[in-house]
């Protein structure tokens, strides 16, 4: 998938932003906490890094060409 890093960036940013809003709504952090700003940025960075450094999947072993028929 091309532009995988873009998917990682957008997903990571909104993941971090939504997490900070959830933490605010459940009184885990105060409104002036640095996490409110830090989490979206961290999500953006982790999303890009994870997408760029995702390992390549195993490629299927190349199949040998069929043997020619006998007698030719």
């Amino acid at each position: 998938m091309r532009k995988r890093w873009l998917l990682g960036a957008v997903s990571g940013f909104f993941f971090g932003l939504s997490l900070s809003i959830i933490l605010l709504g459940f009184h885990v952090i105060h409104l002036d906490s640095i996490l409110v700003t830090l989490l979206p940025v961290l999500g953006l960075v982790v999303g890009i890094a994870g997408a760029l450094w995702a390992p390549r999947g195993a490629r299927p072993a190349p199949t040998a060409p069929p043997a020619p028929p006998e007698g030719t």
Binding site: G25, D32, V36, V46, G57
Partner: protein, 173 residues
């Protein structure tokens, strides 16, 4: 890749407790005194460092400091917002004054999206080289799943989590 995941996990484990640790909110220090009455409940700034209030209301406030004569005063009450947003000033004063007490009514009407949010409010007053400091964490009633913004945020959280999982999957799979 595994090293990256472990590094990020360690960062959150180590940093989160430090960043979410409860603040040591300071009550109002003497010789200043201040209080606010909301819906019949009086909050003494010298004794209270946290309060839960409704989204809208009228606060009957008063403040005083011992002394006499005219002198220069300076002070403000601010709401602290997340960096890099600057703090918002609710009220300020800087002038020559011979008054040593003041009172009034402050009307506020907060948006529903702030329900359940803990908002740090702080203030200071300076005169004759002395400074009084005080702060309180104000929690707006409601919050949690009763805040529609939080419910919508859960949906975004799940969708973006799926997006992250897809972007982290091995390439070519």
């Amino acid at each position: 890749m595994r090293a990256l995941r472990l590094g990020v996990a360690a960062l959150f484990v180590l940093a989160a407790p430090l960043l979410t640790a409860a603040r040591a909110d300071a009550n109002l220090e003497p010789p200043c005194s201040a209080s606010g009455t909301l819906n019949g409940v009086t909050y003494d700034a010298a004794k209270v460092n946290a309060a839960t209030i409704p989204r809208t209301g009228d606060v009957h406030w008063k403040g005083s400091i011992p002394g006499s004569g005219t002198r220069a005063i300076d002070g403000k009450v601010v709401v602290k917002l997340p960096w890099p947003i600057p703090e918002r000033t609710l009220g300020s004063w800087t002038k020559e004054s011979d008054s040593y007490e003041n009172s009034g009514v402050y009307h506020y009407d907060l948006p529903s999206v702030l329900a359940g949010v803990d908002i740090p409010v702080s203030g200071d007053h300076t005169e004759h080289g002395k400074t009084c400091l005080g702060s309180v964490v104000v929690r707006i009633e409601g919050g949690g799943v009763s805040n529609p913004v939080v419910i919508g945020t859960f949906v975004v959280f799940i969708i973006s989590g799926v997006g992250l999982w897809v972007s982290f999957r091995p390439k070519g799979v």
